[in-house]
Symmetry: C2
Subunit: 272 residues, 2 copies
């Protein structure tokens, strides 16, 4: 029987860090990914617009009969998850709760830091989530608006990247945090630079890896997981609203696969 895919949506290529973990931890699953590269970044956009764009990607994937949706974008999770949860009949997961949970699990001194886009940081969702679970944990947030463009322009290993990361993180370095949530799915591509700046004593939380554990939990809970017995091939399809060439450059390198199935699509016609 043909496998129903898990759908992933993101403002661009950042969600590929989540997909990479899905391919590793859940090799039996089919994956459809939509990256709205043409309209990236989402971080500085008004909430209403992010909600509309998120709905357009979701609608596109629902038409492809996905069995579950992962909002692999912190900005979109912050503004659209609750609304989508009410609208969809399939399970839906964002990246903020898994990241918050993993940070609570990891911290020893109850001081957690969060870096993300302006949209994510202004929404204050991480802080609210963490403190709704543990009031005694302190939370420091920092918006890093320059990080996403670095990744999307494939500059994330350059010396410019090192300089920008070091300068941007200064305000959070003296907060005595022992755990830092990479609150944007683009940031794991910068993780070795971020680790270097923050020092080895700070645990970085990759919300992508954590989110996939939760995807697996929910799939099992609802008996939706693909088992090894199903010999049907696991499909991986990537859809981008931007240049397939640019998308392929980053995706093939990040996922370690030269022959990705990437298709250009247009969004923007579906009303919320």
């Amino acid at each position: 029987m043909k496998k129903q895919a898990i759908g992933f949506i993101d403002s661009g290529v950042g969600g590929l860090t989540v997909v990479k973990e899905a391919m590793r931890q859940l090799p039996n699953e089919s994956i459809y990914y939509v990256g709205d590269t043409a309209r990236c970044p989402y971080g500085p956009r008004p909430e209403e617009q992010v909600r509309q764009f998120t709905w357009e990607m979701t609608h596109f994937l629902l038409n492809k009969d996905i069995k579950m949706l992962v909002i692999a974008c912190n900005t979109a999770t912050a503004v659209a998850l609750e609304d989508l949860k009410k609208k969809l009949a399939i399970p839906i997961i964002g990246v903020i709760l898994p990241g918050s949970r993993a940070a609570i699990k990891a911290t020893k001194n109850n001081r957690i830091g969060i870096i993300g886009t302006e949209g994510t940081v202004n929404s204050d969702k991480y802080k609210k989530m963490i403190q709704s679970k543990d009031l005694l944990t302190s939370v420091n947030s920092l918006a890093c608006p320059k990080f996403v463009p670095l990744v999307e322009s494939n500059e994330y290993r350059s010396s410019i990247a090192k300089k920008i990361v070091a300068e941007t993180l200064k305000p959070i370095k003296n907060k005595k945090i022992d755990t830092l949530i990479l609150g944007c799915t683009h940031y794991p591509l910068l993780s070795s630079i971020i680790q270097n700046v923050m020092g080895d004593s700070v645990t970085l939380i990759d919300s992508g890896a954590e989110t996939i554990s939760e995807v697996s939990t929910i799939l099992d809970y609802f008996n939706l997981a693909e088992l090894s017995e199903n010999k049907e091939v696991s499909e991986r399809k990537f859809f981008t609203t931007g240049s397939t060439h640019m998308f392929n450059d980053i995706a093939s390198q990040w996922l370690g696969d030269e022959a990705l199935d990437i298709e250009h699509i247009k969004l923007g016609t579906e009303k919320i």
Copy 2:
């Protein structure tokens, strides 16, 4: 409003390693724990008996209006989880899937080891779970029947314990595993000795800590989590079929709390 508790059941004190993580990661939750110390260990018992005992503990907690049940015992999870899932209207979670998932996430060389009771190892549940998710991962299991009595008798830090652990683990030491699942909730009390014997290159998976992440996921998914806004005190109640004195010795030390609310109970009258 009074908080509905999460119920935890175990053959004895082993499940307290799961409760400790629950108290740390989910401080807002009320917890009821049943340890069937009088009939511990479950490992060598016939499946039918373990299923019956598990049902008796579950029935006891259902009468106390729990909102979720955690089978904090690998042996009981292996034989009773599927059956209980069909019978109960509340969410129920075992420790085998969370441990399997965490091991798949952690392994780099796709070679996972599992130690557990005879019951758990003979059921082959871990191997089946892991390979149903990733056929290419090799799995080596080893029964360690002497470990639970060491913990239940409060001998888990003695030189005898060191000797027994070193001898027992010999057969799994040369399997080139990089990840070892502590497939019994008693074993985290022996974890520093086990880590010492296995060496630093082997990642130990504490199914308890992993299970609590999944409990948190499911609570959030079904909007059952207690939030910090609810100022009602989180209750912690412990019920044991054995000696409250012996239970208190281990529990107060392990949970770092001198004033535990422990009550002796009798089980064995409820039919499955």
